[in-house]
Symmetry: C2
């Protein structure tokens, strides 16, 4: 029954987030959360702000947080936008830069929220097939469309595009916006943030949910030329003046302030990722080269769907996408060393020859 | 410069929220915040949840909070939707229930965010003039449009529509959605929540920002028939799976649990409102009958704009709308008794005859 539903939503297929189990304790390697806690200063800042001041609205301009991000990344606050998770930032960006009926290009295998936004906002979504080895065919993103969306590193493959390749895409699309979604960039990839002065068409989107271990605080951000940031503000201020609450603003700013903690936790995840990849290769898995806090894997003998079910049985949740070309792969978030030892032991058992 | 801006946002005029002063201490009667702190249990719940679990995503279904609201209002969780402030809930509702090109009806004087949503989502916005005394001409909302949006009590007048009038509008519009925005309902007006089983076209929207003193936590909610709530979820899950962070979910649920505190604080605000209205009438002000946590006033001799500036000079912020028909009125939020004594003293001085 869809009585009262608007035309725009009758045919929508919303995004499906990874399972958030409530009843059972799993080793949770399915939603790319950070296995380590957020910076201690972030938790302190939240507790310090949990007081009577919550009766007052938060700063609609998020000035302190934008200033903190600008300082940390060598930008001006006018080049920074913040929102309620990078998903909201991306949704605003689609509305801000892509007109109804316009056609944007994105890889066929990438973050599956992009086509959902396109559908909701009446944007045509052209998928460009990745190469067989899941690398991006850069030449096919060079012109002929009204916008580009690229995740770098890509999801769910974890594979990185080089800065030279990003530059090539930016230069081939001078008149349209190019969104580079860097949700996972802090785990070893190079960020395009240094290019925003050079390319007025570049919007870089990042998040506190992965490398900063604050998925539960819902803070995402974007870097770009002032003109692009103004467009995002125009959308935001036409929907919700105060998208970030006082606690999220305070916690996120404190997290940015602790650069050492941030660097150390990222390094730990990277080390565990490399060790896990090695262990999996020893078990016969193909492991795609990842610069993210997850790995994308496939096994020549045991189907991914079987592995997924077997792991779940053993109390380990990973992500399986029942989609063309990747339905024999699993995306596995990097947990603690203990988590990954348990995962490797389970994977060994499940791939042991009969 | 609007290079790269989409067609949909080039001509937008975003909403302007009330001033949030940063540099100077004002008596802040301009954004309808609650003068009293949130329920103590809400602050405790937030502090208790400011821990390592923030590394994990929040519950995308907000189950615990929806259950708490359902219990408090005698509904099922399937009849409850929650979002990042009632502004986000309203924006989702406009997308969910009004098709591009459809025409919706709203009073000419009401919450000024409604026409902004309509503009962004390509919905035609027909304004129905309020009567001279700012009452709603109910008969003009009875059919002939593709949707209705009514704030009850209305903003910025504070005036209430009776339940009989709400019923009349619902019955005259059986095939289109009727949104009743009850942001201020807890300060003495009757809620339409009891009508949702009877009217499948009714969506009631409320917020934690006013009566629950949690403007800085950003939580709004909607009650309606399951079918309407599913439509809102469809929009939400096409934009942002996790609109509420873990702290907001915990704090809001704890706030709902403390019904006694809630009732007591609402009663305090109502008592102060009535006392303030009396004081203003004694000074010659016209005070419209308010069921909100603000009053809408005008003075026969001193222009509202002059009063606004004079009050600001004296450290008191109120809201002035430079809009047709109401540009000689002020909206004054109800603060503490001490706040309102200061306001009354300042108003007396500013309206004293030469």
């Amino acid at each position: 029954m869809k009585e009262f539903w608007s035309d725009r939503i009758r045919s929508l297929t919303p995004y499906t987030p990874g399972e958030q189990p409530k009843d059972r304790q799993f080793i949770k390697l399915n939603t790319n959360e950070n296995p380590y806690p957020p910076a201690p200063g972030a938790l302190r800042a939240i507790r310090d702000n949990a007081d009577a001041s919550l009766r007052l609205y938060s700063d609609p301009e998020a000035s302190a947080l934008r200033r903190a991000l600008a300082e940390a990344y060598g930008l001006t606050p006018e080049q920074v936008f913040v929102g309620n998770g990078s998903d909201e930032v991306l949704a605003f960006a689609f509305q801000a830069f892509f007109s109804p009926g316009a056609e944007i290009a994105a890889p066929d295998i990438t973050y599956s929220f992009y086509p959902v936004y396109a559908n909701l906002f009446d944007i045509r979504y052209r998928t460009v097939p990745l190469n067989e080895d899941f690398t991006v065919p850069v030449e096919r993103f060079c012109g002929g469309c009204d916008g580009v969306v690229i995740a770098n590193p890509n999801a769910p493959t974890g594979m990185e595009l080089s800065q030279a390749e990003i530059r090539r895409i930016l230069e081939a699309n001078p008149d349209v916006a190019v969104i580079v979604d860097e949700a996972y960039v802090d785990f070893g990839a190079a960020s395009a943030v240094g290019l925003i002065d050079e390319y007025p068409n570049l919007l870089v989107v990042q998040t506190f949910s992965k490398s900063r271990a604050l998925a539960g605080l819902r803070v995402g951000f974007a870097f770009g030329n002032e003109n692009l940031i103004q467009a995002l503000n125009c959308v935001k201020n036409s929907i919700n003046s105060y998208t970030l609450d006082r606690l999220a603003l305070a916690g996120a700013a404190a997290s940015v302030a602790d650069g050492d903690y941030f660097a150390a936790q990222c390094a730990r995840v990277i080390a565990t990722r490399e060790r896990t990849a090695e262990g999996l290769r020893a078990l016969g898995f193909v492991v795609y080269p990842s610069k993210a806090n997850f790995i994308f894997i496939t096994h020549p003998a045991v189907p991914a769907k079987t592995l997924f079910a077997g792991l779940r049985e053993k109390g380990i949740l990973v992500r399986y996408f029942d989609l063309p070309r990747i339905d024999n792969c699993l995306r596995v978030s990097i947990g603690t060393d203990a988590d990954m030892d348990a995962f490797l032991a389970a994977a060994a058992e499940l791939t042991k020859e009969g």
